[in-house]
């Protein structure tokens, strides 16, 4: 992964800073709406997903859309991009009035959506993906496929975005960050005027996020309107001009981002006072729960560290620094090549996840949908999956015991579901993550590895998860906490281990924590 770092010209950052002031002045002069949605409503199966929503989107603005999971953001996007038909209301693009969109129509009026799951063909090249479905290229002379022309044109588009990607590279060979850039290039090639981005930074590292922001700045300059959805409030304050808060299918407010405080924003989203938790370092060091000596494998080199009972050890580092790789080795998901692992003082060999579980290790993986939960199976089956053998007698499941465990976990983890036999995929992101946590905590681990546990989780659920993590530590669990969100990493961890290029750079105690220090270490500057 680390081999493909995205290279985007650094000069944009300066552009962005310079341009932002000028642009805002412009906007106050002439309010130029590229899209206004008027009185849009949509009902699904008895639930009012959207209730009389009206929002104006101005030319060249970055308009953030925030709200908890289930607030109606996704439905709104689907209506704008033509994937869903509204029950009532109008969509006005420039002067054209529509009462519904179709995917094709949306493309014609210049709407492009970058979903969290990309619509790319892995075995085709970057160039082919950019022009997929664009028939103008082959219509010019004949219906034949002009490879050279594709590549030339793709290069032109990529160059105009200042992106350095080889147009002949296959999608399956490039990083997620680059795939996202290809998706954006696809939109640009189709002359998109409105670019909708759903949680674009979720899979990106800090550096890649910076590059994306620069690109967004660049697109704004060219007059592209960006509708930006994110649960990460820091980002909104950095890049958005205006913000619309949605809650329970209703629009709560639209305001200039600079006119609303972070706390106010959270309260509006949740409609109640949310205390952002500050973790005070109150832990008492217990015995060493897990220790590694010169651990190598998965690209990692000489990893020696220990984590104590009751301690939350944060692991910082950029994407590709080796955080997930380390977690996977500790859990036996990948094999270590050399080095020693000690669990509660005993040297152990962890060859498979099964071994790890038997040593009391639990792992909440970063990819919740593919590795964390089994989405198509019911909640209760997910929760007891790792402990089925333990709650069986002669192979037969003790269903009563299973039910008791599931109900306890449901209450402990505040899982919101109508029944525990509904499938996990029917839950919101935050509740899915709670199911994964509930599953691992049911195995009563003594060492808990959390890899990006709050990714794609709404503000409220995030706070609940933080509280739970604190509670686990108080109960004496040793916790390894991996996060790309600097705020939560510094807030929650008792101690930090920073990785760079698959090696440990240094350890930081709570009183030495600072965002700049960690970033500098993670980037290999210190």
């Amino acid at each position: 992964m680390e081999m493909h770092t995205v290279q985007v010209s650094k000069s944009w950052g300066i552009y962005l800073l310079e341009s932002k002031i000028g642009e805002e002045r412009d906007m106050t002069n002439t309010v130029d709406n590229v899209l206004s949605i008027q009185n849009i409503s949509k009902r699904y199966a008895g639930i009012q997903a959207l209730d009389n929503i009206s929002i104006d989107f101005q030319k060249g603005e970055t308009h953030a859309l925030v709200g908890e999971n289930g607030a109606g953001k996704s439905t709104l996007i689907k209506i704008i991009s033509g994937a869903e038909v509204p029950d009532s209301g109008k969509l006005v693009f420039n002067d054209q009035v529509f009462d519904k969109m179709t995917p094709h129509l949306a493309q014609c009026v210049g709407v492009a959506t970058i979903y969290q799951e990309f619509n790319l063909f892995p075995t085709l090249s970057v160039a082919e993906n950019i022009f997929m479905g664009d028939e103008t290229l082959s219509n010019e002379s004949s219906r034949l496929y002009h490879k050279k022309e594709y590549i030339m044109k793709a290069k032109k588009v990529l160059d105009s975005m200042n992106i350095n990607i080889n147009p002949m590279e296959l999608i399956e060979n490039i990083t997620i960050a680059k795939m996202q850039l290809v998706e954006i290039a696809k939109a640009i090639a189709k002359n998109a005027k409105i670019l909708i981005m759903d949680e674009p930074t979720a899979p990106l590292s800090t550096n890649e996020t910076e590059d994306l922001f620069k690109l967004i700045g660049h697109l704004k300059q060219q007059g592209v309107t960006i509708i930006y959805i994110s649960h990460r409030l820091d980002e909104l304050y950095r890049i958005s001009d205006r913000v619309t808060v949605m809650r329970d299918g209703k629009k709560i407010l639209t305001t200039k981002t600079e006119d609303i405080t972070r706390h106010e924003l959270i309260c509006q989203m949740a409609n109640r006072k949310v205390e952002e938790i500050d973790f005070k370092s109150t832990w008492e060091k217990g015995d060493v729960a897990l220790e590694t000596q010169e651990l190598c494998g998965n690209g990692l080199k000489d990893i020696s560290f220990s984590v104590h009972c009751g301690e939350i050890l944060g692991i910082g580092g950029l994407l590709g620094a080796g955080r997930t790789e380390l977690a996977r080795i500790l859990f036996g998901a990948d094999k270590a090549e050399s080095g020693k692992i000690f669990v509660h003082g005993n040297q152990v060999e962890i060859k498979t996840p099964k071994h790890a579980v038997s040593f009391g290790i639990a792992y909440v993986p970063e990819d919740r949908k593919h590795h964390g939960a089994i989405l198509s199976l019911p909640i209760n089956w997910n929760i007891t999956l790792p402990i089925l053998k333990r709650i069986s007698k002669m192979g037969f499941l003790k269903k009563k015991e299973e039910r008791i465990i599931v109900n306890t976990q449901k209450d402990n983890f505040l899982i919101k579901a109508s029944t525990m036999s509904q499938s996990v995929e029917s839950l919101s992101g935050g509740n899915q993550q709670k199911v994964v946590l509930a599953k691992w905590l049911a195995s009563k681990p003594s060492i808990l590895i959390l890899d990006e546990p709050t990714r794609g989780v709404d503000v409220n659920a995030k706070q609940e998860i933080y509280q739970m993590i604190g509670e686990f530590a108080r109960q004496g669990m040793a916790i390894i906490f991996i996060s790309s969100e600097m705020d939560e990493l510094l807030n929650i961890s008792d101690r930090l281990m920073v990785l760079n290029e698959k090696r440990i750079v240094s350890f930081l105690e709570k009183n030495e924590f600072s965002q700049n220090k960690v970033l500098a270490m993670a980037s290999g500057i210190i």
Binding site: F331, A333, T352, P353, K354, A356, V357, S358, Y363, P365, H370, H371, G372, A373, I374, L375, S376, L377, W381, L385, P386, L388, K389, I391, S392, G395, F396, L397, K439, S443
Partner: protein
Amino acid sequence: MILKLVNFVRQYAIIVVLFALVIVFSILSPAFSTLNNAMNIVRQISMMSIVAVGFTFVLIGGGLDLSVGSQIAIMNVSVAFMIVNLGFNPILAVIIGIAMTTGIGWFNGFMITKTGIPPLIATLAMLTTLRGATYLISKGYPIYGIPDYLKVIGQGNIFNVIPIPGVIMVVVIAFGIILLNKTYIGRHFYALGSNTEATRLAGINIHFTRTATYTLLGFLTGIAGLVMLTRVGSGQPNIADGFELMVLTAVVLGGVSVNGGKGNIPGAIIGAAIIGVLNNGMSIIGANDYWQKVITGMVLFAVVVFDSMSRTKRKS
């Protein structure tokens, strides 16, 4: 209560198809709706149902096994060969035969888990290899000389009414239902077929679990092979040709997903019953064999299309 009933019918819409077929054939021919004929159908579908139980395990676990027909053939010919040509004790020969198909099932699972070959290809190779070996052993000729007391298993009745293969079938079905619903192994099958990596990361030995599905199928195929051998009364090298596709049709009819993770035994058995009723009914009304194939194919197509349509409707 009513809601439960509605759910049940929706889940087993296939039951409606079965009843509809029974009614249609009863109207078309009085010979169809007799106790005698019902027992005949049971005898005819017993082998398919026994294998369908194991097949359901494999499909739920995300696999596929095309070699079941050939497994039956090589088991029949080998057992007959051991009894007639080598003079083995018939009971011992049968035990060796069942052990052999169990071993073949295990080998299928082992190869698929260890090498990562797609199950379709691995078991296709096994299908061809075993069929060839069957002809080699028998030199292409049937082997006669199965003792009469063994033939009772395939041909006998209890109280002169209930066919013994039917009894075996019921025991196997009960075994399948209990394994899938009451034991942790069954739960592991579902997890494995739904998401292999997440299952591995839950600390489950996926190699063992996957191999177990194929081994169980091999064992049950051996049981079905015993019924087949004793019903036919000889070791036929060309027996059970195309059997694997018939079983596959039955379980897919019954709602078992070829993509893994979904399905249950009652569904699979109803699927088998539909095929049994179709074949039997059409023979009775005098439709020719070729039409039977056409109709069976069309029924499968119709049910699968209906199922996929009702699923997309539920989603939207």
